[in-house]
């Protein structure tokens, strides 16, 4: 009895199922098509411009990611408050890349194919950029990086990858070398992280320093995932006059502390890239020995006596106090020397989209051409770090560099380089590549 009913029920339901499936698939097709048409129609008017934001939420770059996120949100809010881009609001589509090159490329893929992003933007760590950029080229997705590696200007990437908002390591170290040679000494031992970004330091600083009459007497590479550092320090020769340090990763505080324990009261002169202490309070216990040492900063963390109105506005918008920490939590120190790049890059994307009359993904090439045509970017609310000169051929921007001195637990501006100090001959002309 029950069998018959079941059979009857089954055959009835199969027939019905076919109908239902046919109906549903028609509906799905229709619903998929209609919003598409609507979306296209809207993109001409008020649909948001979607900026895919590749962010280091986890992994070794997490501290940078947190502040890149806050800076970018603040920049987008400011853009939207002043009417958006071409009258359209901007939407940031954030996705964690785990500070991992493989995941980075997947995130770009997602932006282009699933999230309908107009452009991709954001990431810092050079291995993620180098791992992601080829995919951006294949997807024909403009990829604006805020990474400071030399990989963009060196020519190994492609026409779709640009770095208009932050200077690169090669120009930074070339501008630092004369200052170090003149003021601190001639014999340098370098400690740097063992990946692309650190290798840029090793190669370009060594060359620039030797050109200034200095000598490199040790090159010490440390894996960026290392957690204990004392074992590397005995390789620093005793006749070292200046220790040049740059380190990244979650253990930077340990790195600098152990340097202090190693040297005791007999430290050589020290010149560091603030990367060694980004997101770390300079007044942390164990860092007292840094007093009197020098730091490169992309943008001075502490408010300086010559603070511009633009820095004031930017600092307030992002929520950073005069010591470079979060307004809401004085222990949450920012990555102030780097994160301005997000703010400026978003303003450059806005300017590029407005110059090119950007309407949608079909105008991506026009957008890149518009950015390539840019050159002088004067100090302004859009560029609070300082004036810059963008080189459209190499897709790289050039700007002022700041050298600060540690003094009573603060970083005090000691020297500002000119933009010209950071120039070097072009190594590539991306504008000759086809889209």
């Amino acid at each position: 009895m029950s069998k018959t009913i079941n059979l009857h029920h089954q055959s009835w339901s199969r027939r019905k199922a076919i109908k239902t499936i046919a109906g549903a698939s028609a509906a799905v097709t229709a619903s998929a098509t209609i919003p598409d048409v609507m979306g296209y129609a809207q993109s001409q008017s008020s649909a948001p411009i979607r900026i895919g934001f590749q962010v280091h939420r986890t992994g070794i770059g997490a501290a940078y990611g947190r502040w890149y996120d806050r800076t970018s949100q603040a920049a987008v809010k400011r853009i939207n408050d002043s009417g958006g881009i071409n009258g359209r609001p901007v939407e940031l589509v954030a996705e964690d890349d785990g500070t991992d090159p493989k995941r980075g490329a997947e995130v770009l893929e997602k932006f282009a194919t699933q999230k309908n992003c107009d452009v991709a933007f954001g990431t810092l760590f050079s291995h993620v950029v180098i791992g992601s950029a080829p995919r951006a080229g294949e997807l024909k997705l403009p990829y604006f990086v805020v990474s400071e590696g030399h990989h963009v200007a060196s020519g190994i990437l492609n026409r779709y990858t640009l770095q208009p908002g932050i200077t690169d390591v090669k120009s930074q170290v070339e501008a630092m070398a004369p200052f170090i040679a003149e003021n601190l000494g001639k014999k340098v031992a370098m400690v740097f992280p063992d990946f692309a970004f650190g290798h840029d330091h090793r190669d370009y600083f060594s060359a620039a320093f030797e050109k200034n009459g200095g000598k490199i007497n040790a090159l010490i590479a440390i894996p960026p995932t290392e957690t204990s550092f004392t074992k590397y320090f005995p390789k620093i020769p005793q006749d070292t006059e200046i220790l040049y340090h740059v380190m990244v990763g979650p253990a930077v505080l340990t790195f600098v502390k152990e340097l202090g324990e190693f040297f005791g009261s007999r430290r050589p002169e020290m010149f560091g890239f603030i990367d060694s202490l980004e997101a770390v309070d300079i007044a942390s216990p164990g860092l007292e020995f840094l007093d009197g040492t020098y730091m490169w900063e992309g943008n001075p963390r502490y408010v300086q006596s010559n603070q511009s109105s633009h820095d004031k506005l930017y600092r307030q918008a992002v929520g950073v106090d005069s010591n470079g920490a979060s307004i809401s939590d004085s222990k949450d120190v920012s990555t102030y020397a780097h994160m301005f790049g997000c703010w400026e890059t978003l303003n450059i994307i806005k300017a590029g989209m407005e110059d090119s009359g950007y309407r949608g993904p079909e105008d991506r090439a026009k957008l890149i051409e518009a950015v390539e045509a840019m050159s002088a970017m004067p100090l302004s609310d859009d560029h609070p770090q300082g004036s810059k000169i963008f080189n459209g051929k190499t897709h790289q921007t050039f700007g002022h560099q700041y050298i600060t001195r540690v003094s009573e637990g603060k970083l005090v501006l000691a020297h500002t380089t000119s933009i010209e100090d950071t120039f070097y001959p072009d190594e590539v002309d991306y504008t000759t590549q086809s889209f």
Binding site: K231, P250, T254, E261
Partner: protein, 308 residues
């Protein structure tokens, strides 16, 4: 740096690694020896110890030593209880089956790591050392006038690092004494020799398992609390100690405590010395190669013995 002071510094660094590894590896070895469970989540219990230590120290505030001492008690206790809970909820239900517990502890590894990421966050956070003391180490120099005392450049350590070595030695010794002399230690040894027979003699084997799993995790956490003022707490910090503990336990002989301790000193010291003179990667290569050699020529480890 001259060779001799350089070697001394390397040995000192190696001794710290050895101290921490011996604690975590003894925990891993106890769990394997008594329960026959390969605990892949052991490194995450280590990480959890460091994270709880940070949490305790930063919540308490006040003098650094106060927060650290509180962490030294609370973190291993908390991690031990969590592990005992995991034993009751997961391992016991799998009947301590070797293969299935491996898969289950891999699952635990991810759960603990992700919960730490979601709550503690992705940043490395420091715990202040209870005391801050740099000790410059004197050296001897022979000259025409006799033996002179000199202070070589860079030859220094901190009082805290020396304290870590001493603390680890004390803890490991007390574990051995506890196993040999206490009533519960006797029950643990009986369970290790033959759990069925122990059960027949009225030893509550399941309860012994629960305590052992908790104790193993607590030892890892204790190692982490000791190292966290030197290295900072981070949600991904469990990987290295897990690898090193496995290396040490395999070389020493799975389940053999003296073998584990000897191997910890051997691996820790060689890691320190090879890292200083050559490279840290070479140290890892050699340690792993040594594991392969031990597995080929002495599959039961240096001190291990055949078990059915």
């Amino acid at each position: 740096m001259d060779f001799a002071p350089h070697l001394f510094l390397a040995t000192l660094e190696g001794a710290i690694t050895a101290a921490v590894i011996s604690l975590t590896a003894v925990g891993l070895s106890l769990v394997f020896g008594i329960m026959r469970v390969v605990n892949v989540a052991h490194g995450e219990f280590f990480m959890l110890g460091a994270v709880v230590a940070w949490w305790v120290a930063s919540t308490l505030g006040g003098h650094a030593a106060l927060g650290f001492l509180a962490a030294l008690i609370i973190a291993p206790l908390f991690v031990g209880l969590m592990a005992a809970l995991a034993d009751r909820l997961v391992l016991e239900r799998l009947n301590y089956d070797l293969e299935r517990t491996i898969v289950a502890t891999i699952g635990l590894l991810y759960v603990i790591q992700q919960v730490a990421l979601m709550t503690f966050g992705p940043d490395a956070r420091p715990v202040e050392a209870p005391f801050d003391l740099r000790i410059a180490i004197p050296w001897f120099e022979f000259s025409d006038t006799g033996v002179n005392l000199i202070w070589p450049w860079g030859l220094a350590t901190t009082g805290y690092k020396l304290a870590v070595i001493a603390a680890a030695a004390i803890i490991v010794t007390s574990i051995i004494v506890f196993l040999k002399r206490s009533r519960f230690g006797l029950m643990m040894r009986a369970t290790q020799m033959d759990s069925e027979m122990a059960s027949a003699f009225g030893i509550p084997v399941r309860r012994v398992y629960c305590v052992v799993f908790g104790l193993g995790a607590a030892l890892a956490a204790l190692g982490a609390v000791l190292i966290v003022p030197i290295q900072q707490a981070h949600y991904l910090m469990g990987g290295d100690p897990l690898l090193l503990s496995f290396i040490v336990v395999i070389i020493g002989g799975l389940g053999s405590l003296p073998g584990t301790i000897l191997a910890a000193v051997l691996i820790g010291m060689s890691d320190g010395i090879i890292s200083v003179f050559f490279s840290p990667t070479l140290a890892k290569i050699l340690a792993t190669l040594l594991v392969a050699l031990v597995l080929i020529f002495r599959p039961h480890g240096l001190f291990g013995h055949h078990t059915s």
